[in-house]
Symmetry: D2
Subunit: 137 residues, 4 copies
């Protein structure tokens, strides 16, 4: 299971004292990018041949995240025709691994002209090695 950690910063909180709900999608993206780098689908050093555009995002908030929380994000992913689907679970590692949020994001691959393309062979190959648990969320 791929996991990613993020320490909550002051600038991610709002006047309610909690992480602003708009910032969760940033944290899920951090996890997705780190996953893609680990799978060599994306590099921090050079431009990649394709980008994953965001079609849809769905976040369910369970508990607030607060300043200083060490958040741990687990993700799973699969392809459905042209669509690449990610599911996420976010835990507050620093508070007894309490579930903070779950989410789904749906993507398509874009070529360098920003046209929708079939996922590259290298993407499909990586996906074949990924586990997907239907009842995960």
């Amino acid at each position: 299971m791929f996991t990613y950690q993020h320490r909550v910063q002051f600038y991610e909180t709002d006047l309610m004292g909690i992480v602003h709900h708009g910032n969760y999608l940033r944290l899920f993206e951090e996890a997705r990018v780190a996953w893609a780098v680990e799978k060599k689908l994306l590099s921090y050093d050079k431009e990649s041949a394709s980008h994953f555009a965001v079609l849809e995002t769905h976040v369910r908030h369970v508990k607030p995240a607060v300043f200083g929380d060490l958040l741990e994000i687990e993700l799973q992913t699969k392809i459905e025709k042209l669509r690449i689907i990610f599911e996420y679970k976010m835990y507050a590692q620093s508070r007894g691994r309490e579930l903070v949020a779950t989410a789904t994001t749906v993507h398509v691959a874009l070529d360098s002209n920003l046209k929708v393309m079939r996922p590259l062979e290298e993407v499909k190959k990586v996906m074949e090695g990924e586990k997907w648990i239907e009842t995960w969320l």
Copy 2:
């Protein structure tokens, strides 16, 4: 129909040249807050008696928004027991009113101790005057 306008700024775009998907929830919040102020449920000048916590967000992206776009957001809202539901349509007013995104956010009212409470009478009263179109999104 309540509408809200927002001009896209440089800092809302990312290296793809489009508004980063994480920023849409900020724009829907701007619209929701402006609606609540117009309905006198919230004031820009003083603390309000209750807050709407965010339970769930769901955004569907149709077309990218870009720097300089004048975005227009329409919203509708209803109460279902403890849940307050908003739906949004976002258009690029500056590009032939092209549909950019649709979204749903689900909220509950919190008291000053951040406990879930029944929506205040004033909230219910406002909601009775709101129209909800079932087939809107």
Copy 3:
């Protein structure tokens, strides 16, 4: 005197209940862009021939800005050889026009290859019509 108004949003505050200091540069940029659009140096509709890169920023905080504040930003600008200099005063219009912050930003024009260029004639022409008060900040 060019002025620009911005209503403070929830997502711009942090857990201290005030606008996060990192967000002030965004508001000064909003004002700078609105000024450039008014002077026809920049358009919200099409790509501009040159960009102003940021060399230096300097912000002095006087009073905190809070959620709901209607901020008013005044700016003045001048050219010094290759450098384009802006100074800003930010007031809380909604709280007796209290001074919130002052700032300076220094820029250079970049061509489409991101190389430093002399400010375009149209920029120089606009600047000749601008007033600069030496003792402003």
Copy 4:
């Protein structure tokens, strides 16, 4: 010398393909907070007795930072009466340790009523152990 590392994310870039200048202050804050935690002046787990308000920020940009950069921030700090001063150097660790930016931020300690207070004894004690190089920036 205290150092802090930050990996540049998509959401920190803008349409110019570089980190938006408004985001640098967030990264310097991350470094400052990590330093304060290491020195036990701040905890990620509980509220601290004092906060450092931001009086002034000054950033000088040398080279752009881009997506994927592993940024390394060095900082030094000293007290001058009520003022706590930090200086920062930011390098692109991933690109031959190229200097990206330098910065200064000036702070005062606030008590729980947000009144300016003398820096706590524990802060002064930590500061006595810090090195300050006058010619650093």
